[in-house]
Symmetry: C2
Subunit: 127 residues, 2 copies
């Protein structure tokens, strides 16, 4: 059994936003120790790799269990329909691989505390 | 001195998404103890209250210092331009109130750990 993680973001026309997700993925990898064999990211729109491409990479790397983590704040159509539909494409091609979709970021019980922890002296005046 | 907090989200056509932000705001309020006199939310688009409306409510409630916390994952135009422009409208009308904009959610140093902490048995199979 080899367990891997795919962080899925919306994707943006701005290369910087997509790079932000890639850097976050690197930080998740650094933080996770050996919990996952591989950790990659994919994008729903506007930037490669697509979700099926990201899943195929992990499977090619030997993954037999993959968790898809939606980096989304709200339960819109993207989370409810688009991500499951894209994941299903790969699931059907690889019935031997167990693929699960984790709750999206916005549901985290720890979010209120994380938001409050951000409010340090680093805030900047608005005017 | 009375310090209040305004959580600013994008806003959605889906009432449920906006309600999710309102519930999150309630949870932030419950978590914050007495750190802020008042904690409210506002939306950049598609749902009331607007950012100036949210700020005016806090000022009417007695706030002399307000922190605006962008509930956004990426540093797009909304974070870089739109939110500061909306905040500036209220800042100019109330030069006596100190308004600061905190870093947006996506910059949180704690995000990688929060994402990993979400990966419990609550994930659901994709197929």
């Amino acid at each position: 059994m080899q367990k891997s993680l795919l962080l899925v973001a919306h994707g943006s026309r701005r290369a910087e936003s997509n790079d932000e997700v890639r850097r976050l993925t690197d930080r998740v990898r650094d933080t996770s120790a050996s919990r996952f064999a591989e950790i990659e990211c994919a994008f729903l729109e506007l930037s490669p790799p697509t979700i099926p491409e990201g899943l195929e990479r992990l499977i090619a790397g030997g993954a037999t269990e993959i968790t898809v983590l939606p980096y989304f704040l709200a339960a819109g159509r993207h989370v409810a329909e688009d991500i499951p539909e894209e994941v299903a494409v790969t699931q059907q091609a690889h019935p031997d691989v167990y693929i699960e979709i984790a709750p999206y970021l916005g549901t985290s019980e720890a979010m209120p505390q994380l938001l409050l922890d951000m409010l340090t002296d680093s805030a900047v005046a608005a005017s």
